[in-house]
């Protein structure tokens, strides 16, 4: 699976896709593969404030559990409720149906700090 070029990344494998002042966040295909079958995604409620480089939720597979980090600050305006009943979407379609939260950004400049696809791939070691 390709790693989208128009997304921005954290070294901890979260992708960010910006449309206007709304940023959608999920985890990369690489991260989903590493976790193996995802069994649970713990996400914040709509209205929660998230901070750049701070934890916003957690993700579990049969084998591991990891915190989820946001690369930007803002408030959560939408949560992918589909994941509550079908967490496997993170494995099968990490960049589209497996999205996690949408954030209305408060500091758009933060987006520029995030990794480009090339830098992410270099850091992720593949």
């Amino acid at each position: 699976m390709e790693t989208p070029a128009n997304y921005r990344y954290l070294p901890s494998h979260e992708w960010h896709f910006a449309e206007g002042d709304t940023v959608t966040i999920g985890i990369t295909h690489f991260a989903a593969e590493e976790l193996t079958d995802v069994t649970f995604v713990g996400l914040p409620k709509v209205g929660t404030k998230v901070q750049a480089d701070q934890r916003f939720g957690e993700i579990e597979s049969v084998k591991a559990t990891s915190d989820l980090y946001s690369g930007i600050s803002g408030s959560v305006i939408e949560v992918n409720s589909e994941l509550a009943t079908n967490p496997g979407l993170v494995n099968s379609d990490p960049y589209k149906k497996g999205w996690m939260i949408k954030v209305k950004v408060s500091t758009p400049a933060e987006l520029q700090r995030l990794l480009s696809v090339e830098d992410y791939l270099k850091k992720a070691g593949h």
């Binding site: 079958d37 069994t39 579990e60 084998k63 559990t65 967490p87 496997g88």
Partner: protein, 1002 residues
């Protein structure tokens, strides 16, 4: 030709009373008439010839030479164990009977969460005394653990039904620690819900030992614990994360908590209710009056008191808190054929994965005892349990009425089985004394107040006798106005609803078929045996689990556990009634101190995790006593078992990881750097020895020195003690405290996931900081278990083991454990890379084989190997720990060479099966490994579409024709189960679709 280890030098003569006419050559004579039922040769698997052969294959001429090449010279002990001569099995058991007779078993009416109970003999003989059940391992290989997983699912269903909360775990250590776990869970939930709350309220009428254990935990976690009257809790001005209530209260009152809990909820405070399961068959369950979490003990469901344990505690909660629930949780999933199958669910909650982020450090729990309690419920069913509860309650009422008539003052609240009364005209002590003379222990509240608690075993005659303690008329013999037949009938005829004044339970429970089918002994026996037959245990084959030491659990060691003189004692019985136990404890403390080289031993921690916790609390207490409270950093090598970092967090430390090198050893430079960086705050280092990678690290003494130089104390994880006993000692290596997994090195059986015991041994400076008595928590460190000596009754097992082996036998066992591991490593080395070795190319008592290299060329993962081993009748070694994609093999000294060879042959055959895939001779996805394990149902099915023959699937080794173990289910789909969490018994329809219905029960 003898078969086993005999002393190589003439044994010294024992001190023997001078006998008239004793022969001049007494020592020779003495040696010639020693008992012939010596034990070491039974415990140690390989005989002398096999030992020679194995040594030869490794190039050594003696066990001593092998040990010299394996264990660093710098840490070898110069002082042999001072434990004494080995004993004969028969002789020792006779002596133990004498010790047992020093205990005086009075009828206990003390209560406090411990009740006498009738263990149904069919359960005692076929579970508690049955190695088919007690030698099982934790059910990680679920395909060969379906029996106990079903029993544990029954346990969860039982707890969930009785407490009326949908999700129950299986299980916790005791009620006190369960309440402490609930407190931390409340805090974690409050943190998640936006605002961590650091205070917890405990109602003062909880059991005193529970309060003491909760306070210890609160202190280490930095939670402020407020104890006071339940209805005085001020939820509006204080931000409590939770409140703990006892139901019925410790003095027996059944209190309506509905309004109180509503007030708590309005303030965002969670309600934890510690409830008596037998009472819940009659009174309204916690889930129906708002409780968020219920905890308690299941001891009175057929598990003997055992002077404190073992027994299983329970916890149940609402479904939304599933991921905050501590302990193991059994769930339903499906296997490769689509059939329902059980396995441990959402293990990602647990310490072995979450490490320092875990909210609980619980690991080994009380599986065997949880299974017993669940079987008690299966055997009695809902109506049977209710009858037992009604009977206890009626007898209590009878007693209460007569006590009132005698003028003693009872509190007027409803009660179930426990009364608190203010005695008239006489002191509480006089009553207690008189009761004792009549054969009963009562509870003392204060100088005027006593408590009486009845149980399943109480008889009408006993109630009569008890009343004698409360009459001033000393000439009265107990047949007068106490209980006439009319009085009894009057009570017996009352419906339960009237007895409990509006608290009667209306909801149904235990409606599932399993609780309504096996009520005849024949049906029960067959159910127990059917479940047992689905599980692989040490009665089938070796269980070579690295770090778990699945050695022999000898019958002689197990015998005394069910002797009444040990099993029927209440943990808070007067000390002069437990003199036999005191002797056992004192011997065991002395021996364990010798084995570890430390100054003192606490037998209180009732699991390895609790030992870690207690040991770290001792270190904390020590630093605090020196005005160094700031020393709260705990260094932990990244190779440590996950329980280490979670215990450190629970004990209030901040975890700083230390790197390991490619050989699995602690990286000395990184350690020095971290120790220096945190010098002001360095509290402790936790280290496992030999390392978790199965190597005797050469630099361990230096590691300890670095930590000491920076003001820290060294905690040694005793998981690998089986490689140390008699060869070195934690104290000699440089540690300050260690715990001992008595269920590993010292023969307490694993019981399918507990019981365990984790006593700690400490250096002189830490002695004042051992855990306090739960009823006298005046010391600097509080209690860590509800009972003073933890799970006391199973301490008999290591006592028997150590006494039978003697110092020499114990040392020999360690040597052979190292030999067995090195022999297997030598045989498997050409087929699987051995990942870590010591200086001379030797492994310790266990070793890690690499299985990662197969995936690229054959698609085979370590899990496929593990499941294929099931087709050979073997339990897989420890998987993917300490290194992902590997197996860690620990044979122990108890396995014979032929068994080691059988396992190695199986592994080598599997390696060849992988080679067939690598070379294209077998299909990459449809092969014997990917489809393993193969069930009988799959193999005899009319449809067989795999490209390999059935014979190869089922009988890949010739000996399988004679000893085939058939797995009950095919490969289990783990993700499916975690995505569709079901943790109570599924409807029967799901089974009946795939199997013919069973005959209807009674």
């Amino acid at each position: 030709m003898h078969n086993g280890p005999v002393p190589t030098k003439p044994a010294p003569a024992r001190a023997t009373p001078a006998m008239a006419g004793s022969p001049a050559n007494w020592p020779e004579f003495d040696a010639a008439v020693r008992p012939t039922d010596t034990f070491a040769r039974r415990h140690i698997g390989p005989n002398a010839a096999e030992i020679r052969e194995m040594l030869q294959s490794l190039g050594y001429d003696s066990l001593e030479a092998l040990v010299d090449a394996t264990v660093p010279r710098t840490i070898r002990t110069r002082a042999p164990l001072a434990i004494g001569e080995p004993r004969g099995e028969f002789e020792l058991i006779q002596e133990l009977k004498k010790i047992a007779s020093l205990n005086r078993v009075l009828r206990s009416a003390i209560g406090m969460g411990y009740s006498d109970t009738i263990t149904p003999p069919v359960i005692q003989r076929n579970i508690l005394e049955n190695p088919g059940w007690y030698t099982q391992y934790t059910p990680y290989q679920a395909e060969i653990a379906q029996g106990r997983l079903e029993a544990l699912l029954n346990f969860q269903t039982m707890v969930s039904d009785l407490t009326a909360l949908p999700l129950a775990n299986a299980s916790l250590l005791d009620e006190g620690t369960a309440a402490a776990e609930a407190m931390n869970m409340c805090r974690a939930i409050s943190a998640e819900q936006g605002g961590e709350r650091g205070t917890f309220y405990v109602a003062e009428d909880c059991h005193p030992q529970t309060i003491a254990v909760v306070k210890t935990r609160a202190d280490s976690l930095g939670i402020q614990c407020v104890v006071g009257p339940a209805d005085a809790a001020d939820f509006t001005s204080r931000n409590y994360c939770g409140i703990l209530l006892q139901y019925p209260t410790t003095d027996g009152r059944v209190v309506d908590y509905t309004t109180l809990i509503a007030r708590a909820h309005a303030a965002g405070t969670l309600a934890v209710v510690a409830a008596d399961l037998l009472a819940l068959t009659l009174i309204r369950p916690p889930g129906e009056f708002g409780a968020d979490i219920a905890v308690g003990s299941t001891q009175r469901f057929g598990v003997p008191m055992g002077f404190g344990g073992p027994h299983a505690a329970y916890m149940s909660t609402r479904t939304e808190f599933a991921r905050k629930l501590p302990g193991r949780l059994v769930g339903v999933s499906r296997d490769a054929q689509g059939n329902p199958a059980y396995r441990l669910a959402i293990q990602t909650r647990e310490q072995h994965i979450r490490r320092e982020k875990a909210t609980s450090n619980i690991c080994t729990a009380q599986v065997l005892l949880a299974i017993m309690a669940s079987m008690y419920a299966v055997y009695h069913g809902p109506r049977g349990l209710r009858r037992i509860a009604q009977r206890v309650h009626r007898l209590t009422r009878l007693l209460a009425d007569r006590l009132s008539e005698l003028g003693h003052q009872l509190c007027d609240a409803p009660y179930f089985d426990t009364l608190r009364l203010r005695v008239k005209g006489v002191s509480a002590d006089a009553i207690l004394e008189k009761a004792r003379s009549l054969g009963f222990n009562l509870r003392r509240f204060d100088e005027h107040t006593v408590g009486i608690s009845l149980d399943e075993t109480t008889t009408v005659v006993e109630v009569n006798t008890l009343l004698n303690a409360f009459t001033s008329d000393h000439s009265w013999t107990g047949t007068g106005h106490a209980i006439g037949a009319s009085g009894f009938h009057e009570i017996a005829d009352l419906p339960a609803e009237d007895l409990l004044q509006g608290f009667a339970r209306a909801s149904a429970y235990l409606t599932h078929t399993v609780f309504n089918r096996y009520h005849s002994e024949t049906e029960m026996l067959r159910y127990i045996r059917r479940l047992e037959s689905r599980d692989l245990s040490l009665t089938h084959s070796m269980i070579p689990l690295g770090s778990c030491t699945m050695k022999l659990n000898a019958t002689s060691e197990m015998l005394p556990v069910t002797w009444e003189a040990f099993s029927r004692l209440h943990p808070f019985a007067p000390a002069d009634q437990a003199l036999g136990y005191q002797q056992i404890f004192s011997d065991l403390r002395r021996w364990l101190a010798d084995i570890t080289g430390f100054a003192a031993v606490s037998l209180q921690p009732n699991a390895g995790s609790q030992g870690e916790y207690a040991g770290l609390l001792a270190i904390r207490g020590y630093h605090e006593s020196r005005g160094e409270r700031r020393r709260d950093v705990c260094l932990i090598p990244v190779s440590a078992h996950g329980t280490n970092p979670s215990s450190a967090v629970v004990a209030g430390f901040e975890v700083v990881p230390v790197a390991c090198d490619a050989r699995g050893n602690v990286e000395l430079e990184d350690l020095k750097k971290k120790a220096a960086a945190h010098a002001d705050r360095l509290g402790a280092l936790m280290i496992t020895y030999p390392s978790t990678h199965g190597v005797f690290e050469e630099e361990v003494a230096e590691v300890c020195r670095v930590v000491h130089d920076h003001g820290g104390q060294v905690y040694m994880d005793g998981a690998n003690m089986n490689a140390q006993v008699g060869l070195t000692r934690p104290a000699e290596i440089g540690a300050d405290v260690c715990h001992l997994n008595l269920h590993k090195t010292f023969c307490i059986p694993h019981g399918g996931g507990g019981p365990g015991m984790g006593p700690i041994a400490v250096a002189p400076q830490l002695v004042p900081f051992l855990p306090a008595d739960p009823l006298d928590a005046s010391g600097p460190v509080g209690p860590v278990s509800a009972a003073p000596h933890g799970s006391a009754s199973i301490l008999l097992i290591p006592w028997v083991y150590i006494a039978l082996m003697g110092g020499e036998g114990l040392t020999r066992a360690t040597q052979v454990a190292i030999l067995n591991a090195n022999y297997m490593a030598k045989r498997l080395g050409p087929h699987f890379p051995i990942l870590f070795k010591g200086a001379n190319g030797r492994v310790a008592h266990e070793f890690v084989i690499d299985c990662r290299q197969f995936e690229a060329r054959s698609g085979v993962k370590v899990e496929d190997l593990a499941k294929r081993l099931i087709d050979f009748g073997f339990h897989a070694p420890t998987m993917s720990w300490p290194v992902p994609g590997t197996m860690m093999i620990e044979p122990t000294e108890s396995e014979s060479k032929s068994e080691l060879d059988r396992f190695c042959d199986a592994m080598i055959t599997i390696r060849e099966e992988i080679r067939a895939i690598e070379q294209g001779r077998a299909d990459r996805t449809d092969n014997v490994l990917k489809n393993a394990p193969h069930t009988a149902a799959v193999l005899i099915s009319d449809e067989w579409r795999h490209p390999y023959p059935r014979e190869q699937a089922a009988y890949p080794a010739p000996w399988l024709r004679e000893r085939k173990f058939w797995p009950a289910v095919a490969r289990i789909d783990n993700p499916w189960g975690d995505r569709n969490l079901v943790c109570t018994c599924p409807p029967m329809a799901e089974y009946e679709e795939q199997s013919s219905p069973e005959p209807a029960g009674v």
